[in-house]
Amino acid sequence: MTETTTRSLDDPDIWVDTPATIYDAVPPYPPRTEREAEFYHLRDGEMLLNLGPQHPSTHGVLRVVLKIDGEQVVDLDPVLGYLHRGVEKICENGDWHHAINQCDPLEYVASMFSEAMPVLAAEKLLDLQVPRRAEYIRVLCWELNRIASHALFMGWLALDLGGLTPILYGFIERDEIVEMLAAVTGQRVLFNYLRIGGVNGDINHDFMSRLADWMGRAGKQIETTTRLLNENEIFVRRTKGLGVLDRETALRTLCTGPVLRATGVPYDVRRAHPYSVYPELEFDVPTRTEGDSYARYLLHVDEVRESIRIIDQILHELPDGPVMAKIPRLIRIPPARAFVAVESPRGQYGCYAMSDGTDQPFRLRLRDPSFFNLQAVGLLMPGNLIADTMAIMASLDPVMGGIDK
């Protein structure tokens, strides 16, 4: 390809020459890094395409600047920050209890996991023993929420591939679960249920009857969706062999969760670094070796089955007792540092907390799995067609609330 410079950021005249610049993806300031300069330097036949922030399938307000040659993606530059609200700063300005509901909307699809972060961190800093019943209820809610999230993932993937129906089937499943969780937490989406030292209120009859009703046909809806997709020739052809991550690259890119496990690495925080009562529960960590979008999709299906297994065990072994440890309302945590991680539906949700002896966190760093998983698009998308960028992005399952924090 001949290197004809059509437009470069170094050229001061471009703003005057092209009246269409107001619609252009080229940022109106000099490049800050070599990488940015290289990216916004267009070669012959290349074009920049702004994908988002208002786009039907960027899963929120993600903006990806694609450099395309025809329909083929040559390079891309994800631009984050449209949903940034500085949750780490907000957490530092409130006390530990406030951090719980500030972290809730981070992962708004499975907020039981993101709200667990300040809770678990504070418990670890305090060396607090949580009642066993509370631990079981937490795991129960986590696994239910995982299924709710995975059910939506399958629909999303299909929706981004143009299938209209699976997303609504996924929402049926999700709706049942969030209604169930709403019966115990009072909220459908942002639960704000976990507390430092336990959970906010014991599970009630409404929840248990809904859960028992749902467990009777658990997975049936998932099977319906998967039957619609697994044997669908178009779906399989569009996802198989697409966006292949190998084991080494996935580890180097810091992918976790289904994205990493689809490459064959059995890294699941529930088993790799056990927390809560997961060591007592019997479940497998499903892995696949293909590492493509289809493997990621199948892995989600397997994980739903494992989650149902866990819920089944919890329902049989749920102990009696209190659901809150006896701790004072106002917690002053002695100076310490702690790192906790949970396995959220998207991967390892981590939290590094520092306390300085006051009732506020000194530093609360949140590690969002989608933030790191999304980084893989830079490796996966180039060389693919625009249509495939959607399938790749959907199969990484990003949630922008957590990515932009």
């Binding site: 703003w15 530092e92 590690r367």
Partner: protein
């Protein structure tokens, strides 16, 4: 607590460690200086006795007096999280070698630490702001950042769009083409 890990760490990085190896609950903590990051991280990642393959987290910290960069690592060979604290960075010009040569996925995490704390990671090929607008001058997570003051001092303050904040004057003076009174350009944001 993994005492084997502590012994191995003490043996391997005796000259690099700044202070003792702390162990609390399920975490082993070492503290090194900025000059040792490249060697220590490479050794932790590559050596067969460590094999810390997963970088679980990369966090910047402002303690009020100095800057830290905190790495959390996971290895299949140890039940502990390994916390590597790179301490003693000056608040005026914090500089740390990048770990993107080991984990290229650390790029965004380093960009985030740069955006929030102003920590410069040497060797990161794409160290620009990731969340805040490109013309933002403050570092929001520093302890001396007070929200109303610092936000107002930034040129990116106010309700203007990121891309339109710093448009060159010649371009802004260009007339917008309007055809008839009914035509309307509804969206001046990044489009296409």
């Amino acid at each position: 607590m993994d005492s084997r890990l502590r012994r191995r760490l003490e043996r391997a990085f005796a000259d690099r460690l700044q202070g003792p190896v702390n162990q609390r609950q399920d975490t082993t903590e070492i503290r090194i200086g900025a000059e040792g990051v490249t060697d220590v991280m490479r050794a932790l990642h590559d050596d067969s006795e460590f094999k810390f393959e997963v970088l679980a987290d990369l966090a910047g910290v402002d303690t009020g007096t100095e800057m830290w960069v905190v790495y959390h690592l996971w290895s299949a060979q140890s039940p502990d999280w390994l916390r590597v604290i790179v301490g003693g960075l000056s608040r005026d010009d914090p500089r740390v070698p990048s770990v993107t040569f080991l984990w290229n996925g650390a790029e965004w995490a380093e960009r985030e630490a740069y955006d929030m704390f102003g920590i410069i990671f040497e060797g990161n090929r794409d160290l620009r702001r990731i969340y805040m607008p490109p013309d933002y001058t403050s570092f929001p997570l520093r302890k001396d950042f007070l929200l109303p003051d610092d936000a107002a001092r930034s040129p990116g303050e106010g309700f203007r769009h990121m891309e339109q904040t710093h448009q060159p004057a010649e371009f802004l003076r260009q007339p917008v083409v309007r055809r008839g009174k009914d035509s309307l350009a509804p969206n001046r944001g990044p489009r296409q």
